[in-house]
Symmetry: C2
Subunit: 279 residues, 2 copies
């Protein structure tokens, strides 16, 4: 396996590392970050997959969220993929919400995107065996993410509930087919077939019977500029209620869409996931 | 007073804010960051001044160090100035270690620097009354910093021990007259007068009798690429020992010069300062 270590830096007694490899599903080189807690020197550990939001790379979460402190205490690895295929040969547009940095964790079917934009396959199919072969992981995963990455975490979890012990999200896009970000990018990546859109729409997946008896945890800031237009957690809440999917939706007074919000509540999310990863 | 709020973002129940004002001592507009803990809504609080390192702005510490969590718990404000004068009319060089981003917390005497590079006056004279007028601060300050900012914290503290309750540093430049970074920039900013250099050299200040009975706290990573060439904490340790200055120097195995190192030990520094700020 072609896996190059880009960096390895000690933090809270563990190691924050970044790797690069040739991602077959994306036809490009991809970076991802791995935090290994101190316990990983002695035994295999469970891992949280973190999916970042629009414009992010593998760097944002690892430098701004402050997650390593609690992960080091618990003994949890954290895997942070990049948010899209990258490179000169990968299609892009001069917009923050489509193309590179905006993979939306789906498999594109439309030109010019379909050759590279297969983030769903990358996260669900290609990356896990790479991680299990290279790192001291015990095979138990949970999944979380922010905004576009919250959409990724929810939709991937709901399509593959047996692959993850638990799922949470910060300020997620829960109903992409109902909001401008999702409508724009789904049309570009998936075309006009709304049945295909529903495959990557957390609210629609819940309505179609996906889910599990494990509660889903969502934190959402009330001062988030995207709350009313792009995020609309009430749509997901209503669908979960009707479907009997347990959901803990915390509306956080005065918090916005930034990593300051994530930093404030990441400890609660890590401990939520640990409760299921450590059973 | 001309003080413009650039941003105000909730984090850990407090507020991370950034302001801009016209800094007379620097003849330019300057940004600084203020973290106000939740307690500041009810009563005046003490503050830590944090001085950042080469290439940094007011943003690095507030987005990467993870300090707000503990500061919010304790009830401590954190003030983070920029590291130099800025702007089109401010001299600069195409180098990371001189000019903009590299103010070194001194008062330059040499052309072209002397009109703007008065960071010592800015931090010691101009900024404190601005802070006390605008924010709910009780007038008690401690001071800390990283690398070039560790040099700033140590030298400013040793020259003004009654202005601060305590001082700490991460990977500080402790003897600028002995190392390449300091020799280069002191020659540029201060000229050839070594007696003037000694005014901004923590080791020299200790040797000249500056100090206090309050211990100084320093954390230094053993895997720091600059340890042997630029930082040399053993020079400061020896001077403190000879002068009777209490010093806690922690050599941290395997840590480098990055904010991952700072994040790992910032809690210990905040609690150290709180011990003196809350007396």
């Amino acid at each position: 396996m072609n896996l190059e270590q880009i960096s390895s830096t000690k933090i809270f007694g563990g190691w924050q590392q970044v790797y690069q490899h040739d991602a077959e599903s994306l036809s490009c080189a991809m970076k991802f970050a791995v935090f290994l807690p101190p316990q990983a020197q002695h035994h295999k550990v469970p891992a949280l997959i973190w999916l970042s939001g629009l414009t992010c790379t593998e760097q944002n979460f690892i430098s701004k969220a402050g997650a390593q402190r609690v992960a080091a205490e618990l003994g949890m690895a954290i895997i942070v993929p990049d948010t899209s295929p990258r490179g000169k040969n990968v299609p892009d547009e001069d917009a923050y919400d489509i193309g590179q940095g905006a993979g939306f964790y789906l498999n594109a079917t439309q030109a010019p995107w379909f050759a590279n934009f297969k983030m769903y396959d990358y996260i669900c199919v290609e990356l896990p065996p790479v991680l299990l072969e290279k790192f001291p992981l015990n095979g138990l995963f949970s999944i979380s993410g922010h905004s576009m990455g919250g959409h990724g975490a929810l939709s991937i979890y709901l399509k593959n509930p047996s692959n993850y012990r638990s799922c949470s999200a910060f300020a997620p896009i829960v109903a992409p087919a109902q909001v401008p970000w999702g409508q724009k990018v789904f049309t570009e990546y998936l075309g006009e077939d709304r049945a295909l859109w529903a495959e990557y729409d957390a609210m629609q997946l819940i309505k179609s019977g996906a889910g599990s008896q494990t509660p889903i945890l969502i934190d959402q800031g009330t001062a988030d500029d995207f709350l009313q237009t792009q995020l609309r957690p009430e749509l997901f809440e209503q669908a979960c209620k009707e479907a009997g999917q347990p959901l803990e939706l915390n509306m956080r007074e005065g918090y916005d869409h930034s990593y300051y919000f994530i930093a404030s509540y990441i400890e609660a999310h890590l401990r939520f996931h640990w409760n299921y990863l450590n059973k």
